[in-house]
Symmetry: C2
Subunit: 388 residues, 2 copies
């Protein structure tokens, strides 16, 4: 029955346009190429987040200069404003925001549970109040897919329920709902030029994660996401859940760790078989005056940097580090100049994009173990950082 | 006596590095080249304003893409924050803000009179309270020059007093003070790699403007500015003052109309012999959601633009107009995304920079009269706009 639906949707096996080629593997780490209608994705990769059809404070030209390939946009936000019907009328998200490269939209599930002013879940979907105007709105698996089809991203996500990580009963119920909704999303999808990814849930509970990964994998999605992580659990718990899921998800399809991460999350995720990452962290930290480096963060408000002629990171090749001192960035922040957000976003995005590129190269060259060991050795002593 | 000072300062005649070559003239309009240590300026030109050592929301790369040549920074702001001594320690303004092309700093005079929380003028200078922290500060002709020498711009301005335009007695006193201070600025200046421009004052009073232009011209500055305009007087009054001053200032030196303007101000100014303009308008309007075109302004908040797939201006070749619809810009504004300020700033700056380039080309080709007639014919019906 499943396979019939998948064939109808043109998504079974590798017959669609969304093939995933593994280029190299080292341990659990993989380097791959995922083909989409708007270009290839070289994995492992990090996707900048453009919640409202813009990566905050950055132009598409600047994103291109950063060699970003995939960006993420949020269905919840675009559904509420400007509306997915308007985006469709204006030619779809790629045209609307002038991003000719691949785009991924989430399903709205995570945002409804974390942002909407009040929400009520039933078996069919979620009713909630918009955080913008308080209006009553509803999302279901079917409407999430319809919205994502209007937006027109290359990769779209199944509508899921993300539970707080430590409540076993809540997680069991949320997982079962996520499974039922995943199946309904597959049935609802009609556009052949979009790849629908399923999402594994189950909190920090190994047995739930095993059940969830097996069930989601059985539906034959062209890619799989791991949801419900980086939502309050420890790094050790996240890593052990990744190891469980990694053993079950099929190797010939990409795995996407949603809403993660920090530099160390990327390395830890790749070590456990993850191919795709996204996170608001680089641009959000930028707007809070914080610069990300592989060895830790700099808060550029600090008076230490008043006369500091060095760039954020001597080893960084981004536009910001090639051209501006810490002292200048600190001045922009003190003077409340918008340019600080732009220049720090460029640097922070470069940090993660470049790290993912170097991870990929290390896997291809067979030296990723050494790369990861060096990475963690450099970070020892720096505090643990979370993605959200 | 004057000429001795000028020779000491290396500024007499055209012997310095700041030569001005007239390339073409048509009526009173002129096309010229002004040579500075950081490159040539092709006049007429419009200078974007980078008050706090940044053109708000725009990177130097984006300014380069706009082919901006000269930018202005404000002495008052940089004196208060981060401090001119710090800028000097960090290599001067060009290096600090990563702008290798020409820079002009104003004297702080206009800003002290319009921004400082309270100010007391005496014959020697002005004591005022900082708008940032309320601290008591002081500027004199000598300290303004010292600050501007620390900042290191190519063109620096004499410290002047800008009076409200309609009070004859106030304007006479302010003019006389401006004259005394201009002389003191010349004596204070020591750096040979900066051109100090004198400023003509006198409100809307022809007889004061004649006296002021003649006196300032007599001091032998390498360039002259017309201050105290676009501060509340009518367009007709501004234009008639420009005509008076134009007859008196020497033709072989550039004339700079400070703090102006709108597209029509540029055309009107050039018709009356002006070579240089600067104004915060393009970037300030951008932050208030307004797009400048040659035929008027568009307020992109307007619901009219919700589904409008056209660019701001079909005839505009800027990055924003080549890539984004009015509907997308309106969405960014509604969603309070910073990118709207960046994209509108790019467009608005392009409008004025490109207009100045086309004016220059028309003068060189001998068709500026026709160009100006067409320009005003296109604008008929649009409301009168002011620069400040």
């Amino acid at each position: 029955m499943h396979s019939q639906i998948l064939e109808d949707a043109g998504l079974s096996g590798k017959s669609g346009q969304f093939t995933f080629d593994l280029v190299a593997q080292q341990g659990r780490a993989r380097a791959g190429i995922f083909h989409t209608p708007h270009g290839i994705l070289q994995t492992p990769l990090f996707a900048p987040v453009g919640t409202q059809a813009t990566v905050k404070s950055i132009t598409p030209d600047q994103l291109n200069e950063l060699n970003a390939s995939l960006i993420l946009a949020n269905t919840y936000h675009l559904f509420l404003r400007p509306g997915d019907d308007l985006v469709a009328e204006l030619g779809g998200l790629h045209h609307f925001m002038n991003w000719p490269n691949p785009i991924l939209t989430d399903s709205g599930g995570f945002q409804v549970f974390s942002l909407a002013e009040s929400r009520k879940i039933d078996a069919d979907g979620v009713t909630f109040r918009s955080h913008i105007d308080g209006s009553t709105q509803r999302l279901t698996p079917e409407s999430s897919i319809a919205i994502q089809q209007n937006l027109g991203a290359d990769i779209i996500m199944a509508f899921d329920e993300c539970a707080p990580p430590y409540d076993p009963e809540y997680n069991r119920r949320a997982m079962e709902r996520t499974h039922a909704w995943a199946y309904r999303c597959l049935r609802a999808k009609t556009r052949p030029d979009q790849a629908l990814f399923g999402i594994v849930q189950g909190g920090i509970f190994p047995e739930l994660r095993e059940v969830s990964a097996a069930y989601i994998a059985s539906l034959g999605f062209p890619g799989h996401a791991i949801g419900g992580l980086s939502v309050g659990e420890t790094k050790e718990e996240m890593n052990s859940i990744l190891e469980i899921v990694d053993r079950i998800l099929p190797e010939d399809k990409p795995r996407y760790l949603m809403g993660v991460g920090t530099p160390e999350d990327l390395v830890n995720g790749v070590l456990r078989g993850v191919d795709l990452f996204d996170c608001v962290l680089p641009t959000r930290l930028a707007r809070h005056n914080s610069a990300m480096t592989r060895t830790g963060r700099l808060n550029l408000v600090n008076a230490t940097y008043t006369r500091d002629q060095a760039p954020i990171d001597e080893n960084c090749s981004c536009y910001t580090c090639r051209n501006f001192s810490r002292a200048y960035l600190r001045h922009l922040i003190a003077a409340r100049e918008m340019l600080s957000a732009t220049l720090l976003s460029i640097h922070n995005l470069h940090t993660l994009l470049q790290l993912a590129r170097e991870i990929r190269q290390a896997i291809i060259e067979g030296c990723f173990d050494q790369f990861a060991a060096n990475f963690f050795a450099q970070r020892s002593g720096s505090e643990q950082e979370t993605s959200r």
